[in-house]
Subunit: 338 residues, 2 copies
Amino acid sequence: MRGAMIYAPGDIRFETREDPKILHPTDAVIRTAVTCVCGSDLWPYRGLEPTDEPHPMGHEYVGFVEEVGSEVTAVKPGQFVIGSFATSDNTCANCQNGFQSSCLHREFMSTCQADYVRIPNAQGTLVATDGTPGEELWPGLLAVSDVMGTGWWAADAAQVQPGSTAVVVGDGAVGLCAVIAAKEMGAERIIAMSRHASRQKLAREFGATHIVAERGDEGVAQIKELTGGIGADSVLECVGTDESMRQALHAARPGGSVGFVGVPHGVAVDGQELFFSHVALRGGPAPVRRYLPDLIERVQTGRIDPGKVFDLTLPLGDVAEGYRAMDERRAIKTLLKP
Amino acid sequence: MRGAMIYAPGDIRFETREDPKILHPTDAVIRTAVTCVCGSDLWPYRGLEPTDEPHPMGHEYVGFVEEVGSEVTAVKPGQFVIGSFATSDNTCANCQNGFQSSCLHREFMSTCQADYVRIPNAQGTLVATDGTPGEELWPGLLAVSDVMGTGWWAADAAQVQPGSTAVVVGDGAVGLCAVIAAKEMGAERIIAMSRHASRQKLAREFGATHIVAERGDEGVAQIKELTGGIGADSVLECVGTDESMRQALHAARPGGSVGFVGVPHGVAVDGQELFFSHVALRGGPAPVRRYLPDLIERVQTGRIDPGKVFDLTLPLGDVAEGYRAMDERRAIKTLLKP
């Protein structure tokens, strides 16, 4: 089969790789329906994470079950399935507590920009749809496997409540999906921080009531002005830089909450500053598995359409161009079709 | 009148000071019934916070109203009152959100180890008891003005739930009161981290079901062993050092919460580590005012007795010895009687 490999920053190659096989009785192998490039794939692409040796890429997937290991009974060959970028047995204490992305048997997916993918912990990870969804739903369901699930988690971790004010920091695919989540959770005012016209437009379409284009202190001042001087109830930090985290913490009101879902790079939080801010902070890899049944239903019933974050569709073979387009911000998110 | 002044680390003097007066129509002046020395008073006493010039000390108080400003109608002369170390108008947006210790008109108390005290924002700050409570209740009510209110906030910020497991880091007065709070909120297992026999004993009396004497990684390993390998649901961090914060964060399970209520000194939290821990972090100066009516009732009905944290009672004039005893850990907390 064929799949994407990274060799070095900026060097993505589409190559023939060994067909994945069942290695453990808890595995499944799926044939990819659609896959995509994630904002977090850009960290190594940009050299901000090291690439010590060539390795496969991709952690988002929906597809058809090809084969299952002997202990997998929850899904069967032929079914259309969705899973999280973090696999989970869904039975350990952390899974039972709803934090499947901290499963004691967690394995992060990393080979999904390919024709076929081996899914560890398949029993607890994969959720099958009722019947095979129409192709028009595949992008939305694919989004659920990571960016929509992560946006939902941002809103959940930031404790978005009905009637509240939510600020979304970051206008990438996760930030845009976070707008959807804040709206679904009943936020009355949703302020998207975005400088890009096309992303502002999509944010509004998804439910943003206000756009703040300024960043840093100026951006925070705008948020304060929109919130009676005190800051927002919830801030959804969807970037992961020190600047974005600072912006998020300063935009929240005393007693407010920041949910941070972009993997932090070079972020340190000063204890005393956090203390006097009265702001709560919770982040981590999204426990997408917890949300899957609900989010799948919202997509299948047409209530939400996170698939709109894909503004570039390419054949899987053009994966390198998919990275380039995102790196150069020509695309929000690239959908790849095997 | 007489009151305590700090001149330099280790140098507390009891001196004649000017009688406090009503300076603003929102002030009250109270005659101190009892006051005390706080663990946080030891930061400047130990030179860990600078003392640039001599200044009064003390932020915990209960007493009798002497005089009120023209805008104060909620309490009147002669009443026995309790207030928080952080004054609040109780009407601004932050107060209405329950974060009175971030009141837009907040003033921190700092002159309370004295015969008389001026209370800013008296209308929103002071709560009068029904009638004058017996002297045996004064220590408990005094504790409510800070350490018990702060222990309650630790449990609240750490989201202690009925049936859960709570760990308390720190066996000072706040940590011991945090044990009371965790018990009142229904924690099934309360693990107090303490190395001192007398404090362990009081922790058990207050509701601790387990004691862990180890610190750092060893202490965390003990917590993990007591919690099926995953950590505690809630950790109440009542110290404020980098070591204690680290211990707290590592003792919490994925999806658990740390409430941190000791003013952090030299604490920096690594963003990526916090991210992958899935632990929520909320701290700050306790919004004691929110809890006052409830905690006063719990003390007056005898349901809780946080006054037991006072294991040394001295005349106010011996305030310097009160500091010494706490600094040398001969006393948990010193009660001072004018």
